[in-house]
């Protein structure tokens, strides 16, 4: 049974990999995009505005490194969920639902390749950020970083999959993702610390799963954060991912 499950996951992984490999530009951009974001936006912000992040005493590049990793997971998840629409348009979506795999294996398999991409992306980004921007990394926490990248990509994919599977129009899905980008990314600790913000903004920010994810990534990269809070945020994000997974499975089972 376990062998069957692994073979099903590998079959979906193989499919996703083959499709992505048909366009090397995609792969290059997948891998390079967070670093590019950091090098352009992060460096520009730090140099132009000339500030260190208030209250946490690190430069902006170091602070923003976790932000771009979180943003990359978020973007990969959104793109992967969007591929359901492409599969529907190609007609292959419903055919795939008759293949010998459970709905959970289908979802996991689909995100597996993207987790691999996200891990490669994260590794390249943190190494080059350390070398090029001098960001001090906590190497002992690299396993935690990989776990956070993997769970983050999976969690956000399951979340987006709910909408991609329930919606029939990809333009509606694009609208939803635009709203999510705005709400989740800017009302979070991705670009700035939450503590100096107005109370309502701060409450919303702390309740935002992106904040939980980015805070764990920040702790894993530059060691910023209280371990107790990070543990709590990790648990909260895992719970969020599991709930999203259950709802996504339900949405996949109701594809009539």
């Amino acid at each position: 049974m376990l062998a069957m499950r692994i073979s099903a996951l590998l079959a979906v992984l193989n499919r996703e990999m083959k499709i992505r490999a048909t366009n090397l530009t995609f792969i290059f951009w997948d891998v390079a995009y967070p670093l590019a974001y950091l090098m352009v936006f992060g460096v520009a912000m730090e140099k132009a505005m000339g500030f260190t992040v208030p209250g946490v005493d690190v430069d902006y590049n170091a602070f923003f490194l976790a932000g771009v990793l979180g943003m990359a997971s978020f973007a990969i998840a959104s793109n992967t969920a969007w591929s359901f629409f492409m599969d529907r348009d190609n007609g292959i979506f419903y055919e795939m639902l008759t293949y010998p795999m459970s709905r959970g294996e289908y979802l996991f398999g689909k995100v597996l390749f993207n987790i691999v991409v996200a891990l490669v992306q994260a590794l390249i980004t943190v190494v080059l950020a350390g070398l090029l921007l001098g960001i001090p990394l906590t190497l002992s926490r690299i396993p935690l970083l990989f776990a956070a990248v993997s769970l983050g990509t999976a969690g956000w994919f399951f979340f987006y999959a709910i909408f991609a599977l329930k919606m029939r129009r990809n333009d509606a899905f694009n609208t939803v993702t635009s709203i999510f980008y705005f709400v989740f990314l800017f009302a979070s600790s991705m670009f700035y610390p939450l503590d100096p913000l107005p109370p309502l903004f701060r409450i919303f920010g702390y309740a935002n799963p992106i904040t939980w994810h980015v805070d764990v990534l920040r702790y894993a990269t530059i060691g910023l954060g209280d371990p107790g809070t990070i543990l709590l945020e990790s648990c909260a994000f895992i719970a969020f991912g599991l709930v999203a997974f259950r709802v996504a499975i339900h949405a996949l089972r109701n594809q009539e």
Binding site: A8, N14, G91, I92, Y94, E95, Y99, P100, S102, R253
Partner: protein
């Protein structure tokens, strides 16, 4: 081919001799009377697909509930080719979707190779291959990768899969396109890829929903022959089609549905018994006699088609009346060619579905 000129002849199936031992299939109500208890036991023991009182309803906001499948019951024996026929919206595709685990039944049950489709969908999926109605292909992958990627889901990979893929591409005329992406192929070729995939794996049951859409006649014929071979090897094949002649040629047993209900089931000969007294006439005149269309229409034919100087009409009449009609028509003009034959499956289909719509079915 099915017709002979100048005489009454009963049509018979074009396909090869019966492929599997087959319990005489007749309308469901008569199964016990015809087959007896022993046959019924054998049927149940060897059935690849069992469907019992299957119901599927759809609720749409502010619209009445639609019963797409309304109490269907049937069995399909292992190694049989089973045709599911019906007009548009009859419930064929919904039935296939339930059997292939794409939809949940509202009530009733169905099983594939002994596994309940609702309770053990994964076990069912391991045993089926499905060509869905719409064209489905991995557009960004090559033809070869389409086959290999599909096979991998069923545990077929490595050199064995590649070798098999080469053979199938050759067979389906896809070898010259092996490295082309599916997005660069025509719709017909994509459909070929979709059907070819079924032969990359050895699932015991295969579902083909309108499989021949977009196929040229030569390929279609080759695929039909391949399907017969697969059935001889023991694979069970369920197909839906709008092309009645396909079902007539291929199927061991046919189920005709309308408005989600069974209106007839059996092999071709059994179905023809349901439509006894239906004859097809085809007459070609050197010049079409005036008023002939209205005259024939007054006889309330099952089908009437006039093209050029040729009149084709399907009628439910006593044999002697048919001969008299041929004689009378012969008096009306110079007949160049005449054909009379028994009912085709199309006639049976039209008659039964019309009868069901009129509320007098079964």
């Amino acid at each position: 081919m099915r017709r002979a000129s100048g005489g009454v002849r009963h049509t018979s199936r074009l396909s090869n001799a019966p492929r599997t031992p087959h319990v005489a299939a007749v309308p469901r109500e008569s199964t016990l009377a015809f087959s007896g208890f022993t046959s019924l036991i054998r049927l149940t023991m060897s059935a690849a697909i069992e469907v019992h009182e299957l119901v599927k309803t759809f609720k749409r906001r502010a619209q009445p509930e639609v019963r797409a499948v309304d109490g269907l019951s049937f069995e399909v024996q292992r190694g049989a080719i089973f045709g599911l026929l019906g007009p548009n919206g009859a419930g064929k595709t919904t039935t296939i979707r339930i059997l292939t685990t794409l939809a949940q039944p509202t009530s009733g049950r169905a099983s594939i190779m002994g596994h309940d489709v609702a309770r053990h969908p994964l076990e069912v999926r391991k045993r089926i291959g499905v060509v869905i109605q719409e064209s489905a292909a991995e557009l960004f992958l090559s033809v070869r990768d389409n086959l290999l990627t599909f096979a991998r889901f069923y545990g077929v990979s490595g050199p064995a899969a590649r070798q098999r893929a080469e053979g199938i591409m050759e067979e389906f005329g896809l070898a010259p396109e092996a490295s082309r992406k599916a997005q660069d192929l025509s719709g017909g070729f994509r459909r070929r890829v979709q059907v070819a995939k079924m032969f990359m794996v050895d699932t015991p049951v295969m579902f083909l929903d309108e499989f021949s859409t977009g196929m040229d006649p030569i390929l279609k014929r080759a695929v039909m022959e391949r399907l017969r071979q697969e059935a001889r090897k023991g694979r069970t094949i369920v197909l839906t089609t709008q092309i009645i002649s396909e079902a007539e040629e291929l199927c061991d047993e046919i189920l005709i549905v309308n408005a989600g209900k069974q209106i007839a089931r059996g092999d071709l000969n059994a179905l023809k018994l349901l439509s006894a007294g239906v004859y097809e006439l085809s007459l070609t005149f050197d010049k079409l006699p005036a008023g002939i269309e209205a005259e024939l229409a007054a006889r309330h034919p099952i089908r009437l088609h006039i093209s050029g100087n040729t009149v084709e009409v399907a009628l439910k009449e006593e044999e002697e009346n048919v001969l008299r009609l041929v004689h009378e028509l012969g008096q009306r003009g110079h007949v160049l060619r005449v054909e009379v034959s028994g009912a085709s499956l199309e006639d049976i289909f039209v008659e039964l579905t019309q009868r069901a719509r009129g509320g007098s079915a079964e």
